[in-house]
Amino acid sequence: MASLISCPHCGTRPKEEFAIRGDATPLRPSSMASDEAWHDYVHLRTNPRGRVREHWQHVAGCRRWLVVERDNLSHAVFSVTDAATEVDR
């Protein structure tokens, strides 16, 4: 299994144990934000090549949401952190 993700709670696991939600960079606007802000958040996505930040869920393991920073061309994984720690950022 080529694609390995190092879960901070479970250790190194194959990507088959995870579900990918997608881009982790858009931040949810406040509930009363303008329609434009919500339109951006819901519909508009960049399509980058290279280093990306994504939300992955370890569904077959600890079931925690993780933020995986990886290269979507080479699938080199740079960092994996629990998404709960991102809340404080």
Partner: protein, 184 residues
């Protein structure tokens, strides 16, 4: 009006016809007291301390602040209530005794058999006795725990038990494996 309920195990009728014991043996437990414990926010060390302090409970890691608790002392009917009393509001307790099936794989090839379907390193140095983890066995999520050098406990969702036993039979095709209920 009184009803008579007949308890049927998820694997009744699929295993147990042949009573034999080979070098490697997969024992399916008929009734195991089990519960999931999820610590309340910010109270993980407290809940862990209460669980570990009591020798009646076998505590297995499931996720951060989340454990699968098994007990041979308490009955399936009483474990969740017992845990609820001991933990108070430090944790949430959900009874799993009838929701999951516990299996024990024992034998000199136990780790080799599991390695055919599980993607964690099961060498005794990296997965020592007492270690537990939620892992994917083929496409089924199981809680795997090492109970001795040559034996592993698997806890699986009840409705996946039959598929898991079939998978383990395939994984053990080049090894000598027998399958039976733990108590006949």
């Amino acid at each position: 009006m009184a009803y008579d309920y007949h308890a049927v195990h998820a694997l009744d009728g699929t295993i147990g016809a042949i009573a034999e014991r080979r070098a490697n043996h997969l024992a399916v437990h008929r009734a195991t007291a089990m519960a999931m414990v999820l610590a309340s926010p910010g109270r993980v060390p407290e809940a862990a301390g209460i669980l570990v302090a009591n020798g009646d409970f076998e505590v297995r890691f499931s996720g951060p602040g989340e454990w699968l608790v098994l007990s041979e002392v308490h009955a399936p009917e009483t474990l969740a209530a017992e845990l609820g009393v001991r933990l108070g509001d430090a944790a949430f307790v959900i009874d799993q005794s009838h929701g999951r099936v516990a299996l024990t794989l024992t034998g000199p090839d136990a780790a080799r058999i599991l390695a055919n379907g599980v993607a964690v390193d099961l060498h005794a140095d990296s997965f020592p006795v007492g270690r537990a983890a939620n892992v994917l066995c083929h496409h089924i999520s199981v809680n795997l725990a090492r109970t001795s050098a040559q034996s592993f406990d698997l806890v699986v969702m009840r409705s996946f038990a039959e598929a898991l036993v079939d998978d383990i039979k395939v994984m053990a095709r080049s090894h000598d494996l027998s399958v039976d209920f733990a108590t006949r």
